[in-house]
């Protein structure tokens, strides 16, 4: 670095710097899994949409299921000033969410505040930083990805950063529902998280469309892929 300030932990890893962006807690809430429900065509599963306003393009969220239901992050889109996070779930409970974003402005008038070379706030001592508790990773290959668990450290409250979970969707041949061949239906394979006692369990779930089909062989070759399982576990204790 040229000028500025950096702080490192015992392992020699950067904690914060005037040269980088510190994601800090900017919003928190509880999302009712029955809100903004959009799909009744996937038996046992329905979609739910979490809307959060005021986030920059640097923002991302972490969630903690509040029940034993499974939640799968599906996709995100920005509509005006609102970011819409789409999930699938097999439950009707809720999850708690935390949004992390770059610090946009100074709050309060005491403490230490760091600015970058452009005069932007990059760290404030009262900011809740993104503390990493661990990562869960597994390569994905078509058709197979195993379950994985992450033990929640005793006395800590941890959440899962979404947007880094595996999954894909495509069309599969479903036989002859109307007596004709070449019928295809959508299938989602989504990486889910659920709370199971003292651990989080990550598991790929298959969600099939219950009705409707396409007869277009070309469309049947379409697919959408999300990537490998690559989940960050964030320590949100007292956040």
């Amino acid at each position: 670095m040229g000028v500025g300030l950096e702080c490192y932990n015992d392992a020699g890893h950067l904690q914060f710097s005037t040269q980088t962006i510190l994601p800090a807690l900017v919003a928190k809430g509880v999302h009712d899994a029955t809100l903004n429900s959009g799909s009744s065509n996937t038996p046992g599963w329905h979609s739910t949409r979490l809307d959060i306003g005021g986030l920059s393009e640097s923002a991302f969220i972490c969630i903690r299921p509040n029940d034993g239901a499974s939640y799968a992050f599906f996709y995100v889109e920005r509509v005006g000033g609102t970011v819409q996070y789409h999930f699938f779930t097999n439950g009707s409970g809720s999850f708690t969410w935390w949004a992390f974003d770059r610090i946009a402005s100074i709050t309060g008038n005491t403490g230490i505040i760091l600015f970058d070379g452009a005069g932007q706030v990059c760290w404030q001592i009262s900011a809740r930083p993104l503390r990493v508790s661990g990562v869960v990773q597994q390569a994905i290959s078509s058709g197979a990805i195993g379950d994985q668990g992450f033990g929640i450290p005793g006395g800590r409250d941890v959440a899962v950063a979404v947007g880094c979970m595996a999954g894909w969707e495509n069309y599969v041949q479903i036989g002859t529902p109307d007596g004709q061949p070449q019928r295809y239906s959508a299938r989602y394979r989504l990486d889910t998280i659920r709370s199971d006692g003292g651990q989080y369990v990550f598991a790929l779930q298959v969600v099939d469309q219950s009705s409707g089909f396409t007869t277009n062989p070309e469309q049947a070759s379409y697919s959408r892929l999300f990537g490998a399982r690559n989940v960050m576990i964030v320590d949100v204790t007292n956040y």
Partner: protein, 93 residues
């Protein structure tokens, strides 16, 4: 603690100490559709991480929407693949 910084919130709860792994964000890429690489010496200063958030609609791509394969080596992040439709976040912790 040995050396470093400890930070408490207004309730006296510890936020950071020298054993904490705090994530920093080094960049966001929003318009990439094919493989690319990022060189940043800050990758040397922690454990690299990345997110990929698919930007989605309820339609399927043709050709297939691709998923990125991401690897880190030294001060470089390399993303391979094609037909991306999403946002990359990367940093260190």
């Amino acid at each position: 603690m040995s050396t470093g910084i400890m930070v408490w919130d207004e309730a006296g709860q510890l936020l950071i100490d020298t054993s904490t792994n705090v994530a920093t964000l080094l960049g966001v890429e929003t318009s990439r559709t094919s493989g690319f690489s990022i060189t940043n010496d800050y990758f040397y200063k922690g454990v690299p991480w990345f997110f990929y958030l698919p930007r989605g609609v309820y339609s399927f791509g043709a050709p297939a929407d691709g998923f990125p394969s991401v690897s880190f080596s030294g001060n470089m992040m390399t993303v391979t693949g094609s037909s991306f439709d999403g946002t990359f976040y990367y940093g260190i912790y």
